[in-house]
Symmetry: C2
Subunit: 220 residues, 2 copies
């Protein structure tokens, strides 16, 4: 009984995810689901990416937070479109919420739509939002044990950004251990070392993003 | 139908929490549920607290992680007893899991039992484990917007430790904003600024802990 109810809930999310995925494919829009702990630097990365890609990629953001619309405001300050979803306690975004947000923006005109999920390294990875791929951030201050402790989230990522690399001098962090633990659960993931604050390493991220968007547009 | 099922699940957790709470009260043990994002410094704080309190408080730890027993191993290196619960994907500990862990340790002989919850700033706050109070950690690199974005977790804390205060020189963090946002949702919380790595500010935490344990013992 409990299982069948869970399946029903899951399939409703998966149906909405399918609709979102169709919509993105039809328009040649690359949709990326951005997942990390609270405070890993998701919003800083997205705001800087929008600014640095101006004239090259048209980007919008669906923002998920339990409370406040601070992050959508930060994105709008770059001139980009952003829709905030306040989950009011829920620990992850659902595909239905994302679908509603898409109808509130000029989604068809965008090259890339980022979904910034609720800051949570666990639950968001269990819910398909209709994205083409997942971007997982791990920031240096969080510690080098996280890929081993949260293998499911790292296994589901297409690209993993090791962020706040500028703090390496002040914090003990065994990069080799992180790279080995990621490789054990996800040998195909692209792994980049970046600092969204200083800009270090972002060129490789932008190259990846442009290539990935080109592939999405060609498939549509 | 969905609501009644949820209630049934909740009441099973609450029944186990009641059992745990009775058990702690009977033995005069102070049980604290430690909640934070991944990488805020929970294990570092607990390992240091155990060492610094040696001869003054007998402490044990119930460790919750999705995968690995690294944290329990770190605690055992201090000489203290630790039981690891691997939740295998679940985003929080349940009261039943804690009850099982208590039966695997000499819980009656302890002055303080810490439950280090799964690193997650959302879900653990919805589950009573039978603790006397909650310790919430917020670390400087996570950013000063977290109490506003995760009000439920901060509202439920008896004490809030602003950790990694030694990184203040390298990271933009508006402490005034954090203190105001915490006060708005939880005016009664004790708020301390600490560094579990350098030891800064820990004396106030130890004083609080000793007083709080004394109160728990007197009530038993």
């Amino acid at each position: 009984m409990k299982v069948s109810l869970n399946q029903k809930i899951l399939s409703r999310n998966d149906q909405c995810a399918l609709n979102n995925r169709d919509y993105f494919a039809k328009n040649g829009t690359l949709c990326l689901n951005v997942i990390s702990s609270p405070g890993s630097g998701k919003t800083t990365l997205l705001a800087r990416t929008i600014q640095d890609m101006q004239g090259r990629l048209t980007i919008a953001v669906v923002e998920g937070d339990i409370r406040t619309d601070h992050d959508a405001q930060r994105i709008r300050q770059t001139g980009a479109e952003a829709v905030q979803i306040e989950t009011e306690g829920a620990c992850h975004l659902s595909a239905g919420q994302v679908g509603t947000a898409l109808r509130q923006m000029k989604a068809k005109e965008k090259d890339v739509i980022f979904i910034e999920n609720v800051g949570n390294l666990v639950c968001p990875s269990a819910f398909d939002l209709g994205e083409a791929g997942r971007v997982v951030l791990l920031s240096i201050p969080e510690g080098d044990d996280k890929p081993a402790k949260y293998p499911g989230t790292f296994a589901g990522a297409e690209i993993i950004l090791i962020n706040k690399i500028d703090l390496m001098d002040y914090i003990e962090f065994r990069l080799e251990r992180v790279l080995a633990d990621i490789h054990a659960v996800n040998p195909d993931a692209t792994v980049l070392q970046v600092s969204a604050t200083t800009g270090q390493g972002l060129e490789a991220w932008y190259d990846w993003l442009i290539d990935r968007r080109k592939a999405a547009a060609q498939r549509s």
